[in-house]
Amino acid sequence: MPKSARRLDTGHPRSLLWVEGALCGIAAALSPGTALLLVGLLAPGLVSLALDGAPGKPMARAVLLAGVTASISALRQLWLDGASLDAALNLLEDPLRLGTAWAAGATGWLISELAPIITRLLLDARSLIRAKELRAERERLEAEWSLPAGHPPPTSPPPAS
């Protein structure tokens, strides 16, 4: 599948991509140090942006937002140091700063992956409790009104996969 077609599948209009690309190019031309630092610190987010095929790229969005959160102090330091390429490279050479940014991205990824699972577990638990309540009420009614157990209730909702 051609790349353009795949991108169209994600829901981004072609014109918007060009605008985004142009804006990125202008930003890189105006402040190459900032661009370099951002590319370095937000590399996991950029990779996930490329890999996330889901509509709205929720996983990439979480990774990027988490990465940006961890990159603010570095950007501030870069701008205090003049926003040069050297300053950006110095900052990128600091493994703690780079690791923090990338760990934040990983955290964003982890949150985006775990949140649906935990939500599913919560929803299933709520359904199980409700089904149990209903079955108990049904049994109570059957016993009270001497009804034959000829109509067994539906099976329990399946557990979350």
Partner: protein, 671 residues
């Protein structure tokens, strides 16, 4: 009879059951031969202390004569042991028996050896037997009653030259204890229970045979069995059969000739017998039937005359019907007897039979025989499948058949539902009141009509025999003739554990209540309920019992209410609500000890509460439907929940990271 009661202690102590509140039956003091064929015991009139009474014991299969007892009770007819009271009393073997209280006979019966040893003279017979008996018969006739038990062993004499006294004839169905020789042949050919009330002319006949016996000093035809006696009387005429060889005084011979006439209409009335010279001049008798030159063989017996033929056809209906259908009977009648009119009538009946049913149609054959016998001998009783019975003998016949529990019950039922009485009456012309008989037959059919034929036949038996006791096995050993006594008897029976295991209602009890309490509606409901749910049956049973309780204003019946309470638990099944059932059961237990049935019925048969219970059930079912739908939705909602969880999870991740970014920006801005 001279019973010696001097040494018999007066049992005025408490606990002695008094019949009618007055008479004590002394079961330890039997009076042999005094009861006219039934067991008799001495009886004491408690208020006066007199002991010159006897209690004649009835048997359940042969109930006493309610009509005669009702009309004669308390009346005094000289020369007759009239009933003074009747009712249940203690049986010698334990339990209850039914007794008719009469004055004690004045002496031994005419059949006692001292009285029957030598022939009586004509004057003695006329003065001491004929006239007193005729007086009694005239008194009975004026009351529309008959005696039907006139024979030497039921006629008593207080000594020589004393007028005789007719014995008790009220404790058994009419003529049921009469030997064949003392009955007209058309009565004798019926089974003892089937003879009916008859007419006073039948008493005149029995009196005639009794006079003959006294005149001869022996019972005529004593050496013959019943069938031989009947056939001899039919073929020769009663007088010829009984007295042909006897040398009788002329007055007595003339009297007996008319008294023993075959046709009841030809016999002198009791009033006429009082004037013997007028009575002897009466020369109206039925001629003996014409004898054929050659016999007709029916059932291997040669038949020589048309009356004997009618009897043989009636008692052997299957070969009789066959010979009627194949024309053998009509050919014989036409050829041997020259009775062309009778033969033509029979041929018409056979043609009707051919139109009405196929060759194997048993009912059509039975009707053919019934009508043919009526044509052959108009004096003969209705004949149905070998059973000969007079229309007013249906009641006692049913009682006897029910006591024996034999197949005769089914035949009697067919006799009624086939309109046999009406068909027979139609053949009789002016001899019988066809309209009255038809109405009686319709009434019988009405009683008989029931879902279950056993219930119908029981209802009819109780309706036709007012003093027949309820034959329910629950009341074994008790003689219950009224609905009020029924509940008391059931209350007493409920004390027995083996009875308590059974339901307090059965076919006999239901039919008995329907008749004696006039509650046919509840019988119909009960019969319908028998095919349905046990709970409905319990309510129907309760309705029958309560109908008796409320109408008779009875006192507490603690044993019966406890018994009913135990069995009424099945009615709780009508309620669907378990809570309500539990509450009702508690109330039922409390009411069962109260001795009243009405509150139990009110508790269980509450339409408003039942309606509310039914509505509650409907609501519960609707709620269960909703629950099932919701459970199905939960079971089928897995993919929906997965999609929702995915969406919420992603949004949460975005929101959390965005919140973190915002916090970081704020922190950076604040320095």
């Amino acid at each position: 009879m001279g019973t010696s009661l001097g040494a018999f202690p007066s049992s005025s102590a408490a606990g002695v059951k008094l019949l009618n509140g007055q008479y004590e039956v002394l079961t330890a003091l039997p009076l042999p031969g005094a009861g006219g064929g039934l067991p008799a015991f001495a009886a004491r009139h408690q208020p006066s202390g007199r002991t010159d009474f006897m209690a004649v014991r009835a048997s359940p299969g042969a109930p006493p004569r309610a009509n005669a007892l009702a009309r004669l009770e308390g009346e005094v007819i000289p020369g007759l042991l009239t009933p003074l009271a009747h009712g249940p009393g203690p049986a010698p073997e334990g339990g209850e028996a039914y007794y008719v209280i009469c004055p004690e006979p004045p002496g031994p019966s005419l059949a006692a050896p001292a009285a029957s040893g030598s022939p009586w003279g004509e004057a003695e017979i006329v003065h001491y037997v004929l006239r007193p008996a005729a007086h009694v018969l005239e008194a009975l006739k004026s009351r529309g009653l008959t005696h039907r038990a006139i024979r030497p062993d039921n006629i008593f004499s207080g000594g020589a030259k004393n007028p005789v006294v007719l014995g008790c004839a009220w404790a058994a169905p009419p003529a049921s204890l009469q030997p064949a020789v003392f009955e007209p042949p058309y009565m004798a050919m019926c089974a003892p229970a089937c003879r009916g009330e008859g007419s006073i002319a039948d008493d005149v006949y029995a009196l005639g045979v009794t006079l003959l016996t006294l005149a001869l000093g022996r019972t005529p035809l004593a050496e013959l069995d019943t069938e031989a006696i009947i056939l001899r009387k039919l073929s020769r005429g009663s007088f010829e059969a009984l007295a042909a060889d006897a040398e009788l005084p002329s007055l007595l011979a003339d009297l007996l000739r008319s008294m023993l006439a075959e046709d009841p209409a030809h016999r002198p009335s009791p009033a006429l017998l009082l004037d013997t010279s007028t009575a002897r001049s009466r020369k109206v008798t039925t001629r003996p039937p014409r004898r054929a030159q050659r016999p007709l063989t029916l059932n291997a017996s040669p038949v020589w005359d048309v009356r004997s033929l009618a009897y043989q056809v009636a008692t052997h209906p299957e070969p009789g019907a066959r010979m009627l259908r194949n024309g053998a009977v009509t050919d014989w009648i036409r050829r041997e007897l020259g009775a062309n009119q009778m033969a033509s009538t029979l041929e018409e009946l056979v043609r009707w039979r051919a139109r009405e049913g196929g060759t194997e149609d048993r009912r059509a054959d039975s009707i053919l025989v019934l009508r043919a016998v009526a044509v052959l001998d108009p004096l003969a009783p209705p004949a149905w499948r070998g059973i000969l019975l007079w229309p007013d003998g249906v009641g006692p016949a049913l009682a006897a058949a029910m006591a024996k529990g034999n197949e005769e019950l089914a035949e009697l039922r067919d006799f009624i539902i086939s309109h046999a009485i009406t068909l027979w009456a139609a053949q009789q012309g002016s001899r019988v009141d066809a309209t009255t008989l038809r109405q009686q037959a319709q009434q019988m059919e009405l009683w008989l009509r029931a879902r279950d034929w056993e219930t119908g036949i029981a209802r009819l038996a109780y309706a036709l025999n007012p003093l027949m006791p309820c034959a329910s096995p629950l009341l074994r050993g008790r003689w219950v003739i009224s609905a009020a006594e029924l509940l008391k008897a059931l209350d007493a029976a409920a004390a027995q554990p083996e009875v308590r295991r059974l339901a307090p209602m059965d076919t006999h009890l239901a039919a008995f209540i329907a008749v004696r309490q006039d509650h046919s509606f509840y019988l119909d409901v009960w019969e319908a309920a028998r095919a349905g749910a046990p709970a409905r049956l319990v309510l129907a049973e309760l309705n029958l019992l309560v109908a008796v309780e409320t109408r008779n204003n009875l006192g507490p019946l603690p044993q019966l209410s406890a018994w009913v309470g135990e069995h009424a638990k099945a009615a709780l099944e009508l309620w669907h609500s378990r809570t309500r059932r539990a509450a009702l059961q508690q109330q039922l237990q409390a009411l069962a000890t109260g001795g009243r049935l009405q509150p139990i019925l009110t508790l269980l048969d509450d339409p408003t509460a039942l309606q509310a219970d039914a509505e509650g059930l409907q609501h519960a079912l609707a709620r269960i439907g909703e629950i099932d739908a919701e459970l199905a939705q939960i079971a089928a909602g897995s993919s929906t929940r997965a999609a929702l969880a995915e969406r919420i999870g992603r949004e949460f991740a975005a929101g959390a990271t965005l919140a973190a970014l915002t916090a970081a920006l704020v922190a950076a801005a604040l320095g």
